[in-house]
């Protein structure tokens, strides 16, 4: 099942699919597109991916989370243009006890950020655009006027 989607992500559907009557604790995380970054007003944002590698990385994260934390887990990441306020990523973990559910979700979002080949291009209110780069101090490669 693809974990990457060009359509809006449905947290509720993910929760319903993962929940089982034997597992009472469901933790989730949603990363929503913010209207600002690096001190600039963001007007739109687009995600792109190295899709086959990103799909494989998402699968691996889910499988590892299930193994490490004894949970049922899933995630979705949005690609393409994402309007401000909509979810870029949603993660869910269900467990018999809440500690494992929380730990799994927290671990998964860290892993998504560090190992899934996805990139983000932001457009700002002043008409410039930039690639987001969490490894540089400002968080973006110098914004340039878009073509």
């Amino acid at each position: 099942m693809p974990r990457l989607s060009h359509s809006p992500l449905d947290l509720e559907a993910l929760v319903e699919a993962i929940a089982q009557p034997s597992q009472g604790a469901v933790a989730t995380f949603a990363g929503l597109v913010r209207d600002h970054h690096a001190g600039r007003a963001v007007t739109r944002l687009a995600y792109s991916a190295y899709e086959p590698m990103a799909e494989a990385a998402c699968e691996a994260i889910i499988a590892e989370a299930q193994q490490r934390f004894g949970v049922r887990a899933d995630l979705r990441h949005r690609l393409g243009d994402v309007p401000i306020g909509e979810a870029a990523v949603v993660i869910v973990a269900a467990a018999a006890h809440r500690a494992e559910a929380f730990d799994a979700v927290r671990w998964m979002i860290d892993e998504v950020k560090s190992r899934v080949p996805i990139w983000k291009r932001e457009r700002y209110a002043d008409g410039t655009e930039a690639w987001v780069d969490p490894t540089v101090p400002d968080g973006i490669v110098a914004a340039r006027q878009s073509p």
């Binding site: 590698m53 870029a88 990523v89």
Partner: protein, 75 residues
């Protein structure tokens, strides 16, 4: 294959370079840095071969899908 900012730098998502047999990722990077726009590539970008990270000094397999990945920004 090149993605995101790196594709912009070199003006394409796919480039072909001639490499010697038994070439490593470093050899590939050096060849790419000679291309127009390639000088702005970092000296040690993240390289993936067949969807897995390439370790320093690892040889590139002929016919493998090689990708240069800019710093990840998902999530």
């Amino acid at each position: 294959m090149l993605f995101a900012r790196y594709a912009e730098l070199l003006g394409s998502e796919r480039v072909e370079v001639d490499l010697p047999e038994r070439a490593t990722a470093d050899d590939l990077i050096n060849a790419l840095r000679q291309l127009p726009g390639g000088a702005l590539l970092p000296p040690q970008p993240f390289v993936a071969m067949n969807h897995a990270q390439v370790r320093a000094g690892q040889r590139l397999a002929p016919g493998a899908e090689i990708a240069l990945l800019p710093p990840l920004a998902g999530g």
